[in-house]
Amino acid sequence: MSIDSLDILSNTAIETLERFAFLLGDPLDAREAGLLPLPPCIWLCALTFSGARAAKIALATAPDLARQIAVNLYSLEADEITEIQAMDALKELLNIMTGNYLHALEGDAPIFDLSAPVLTTPDRADFARQWAGRPQVALNVEGQPLILGFGI
């Protein structure tokens, strides 16, 4: 995965967060990412795409950010959002981010098939083992970390 494609992923993620979830995101470099650690409980959402390119793409964040996304999308108060709604909001966010990323990378011509997103809840240690050395980008989304990576 080239640095260019990671930049495209970062930009499309920020744009999707703003347009779909009404949240502002900023890229984090490695030092900044260390200052904004993921919580002990992580929500990891992943899907695979195939076609002109094929890979698994994953999004990791704190449950609190998923709930905030759901609050914005459902127009409900935070205490009214169910865990199912928050998880579904995160899955749909990844689905849209991936579609926008592939379009930005490859244009209109190729067909991609996207699998349904799957959400798991690894602990931070498992997550760190899985993600070590993987191509990834980190964002600060209104004070919460959000990490996107490939091939997890």
Partner: protein, 130 residues
């Protein structure tokens, strides 16, 4: 005139987002029906009057392309406009959808302005689309 709209998507979040965006856009709504797949959408169409359908492509049980095929093969539903809302922007997929009778194609995330313009294109008095 207020419209009956059917939103078909396996994601509850996507359905809610589209319904909310219709409200924000000021589209006059009588009822907004929701279905999680193409088969459930056909069940809604059997029992409710629907003016326009928004549908995703990738869904379990019955996908959006098959839903449109079944609608176009049914005299009761074949005139109902179908707008696909999806993340897939490939020209090949777009051509495939037009071939089965999809009227328009929007990519996620949609904006209120685009949604309103699309609804008016097909349902506003004088549009001649239905």
């Amino acid at each position: 005139m207020a419209y009956n709209i059917l939103i078909v998507d396996d994601s509850l979040t996507a359905r809610t987002f589209i319904a909310r965006t219709l409200e924000i856009a000021g589209v006059p709504l009588s009822h907004v029906y929701q279905a999680a797949d193409g088969q459930s959408a056909l069940d809604v169409l059997q029992r409710e009057w629907v003016d326009l359908v928004f549908a995703d492509i990738n869904m379990p049980v019955m996908n959006g392309v098959e839903l449109v095929r079944r609608m176009r093969a049914n005299d009761l539903f074949k005139a109902i406009p179908v707008i696909i809302i999806t993340t897939d922007r490939s020209t090949h997929r777009m051509n495939e959808l037009h071939a089965v009778g999809v009227q328009a194609y929007l990519t996620k995330p949609i904006t209120p302005e685009v949604l309103k313009a699309t609804v008016e294109r097909f349902l506003a008095p004088g549009s001649g689309a239905v």
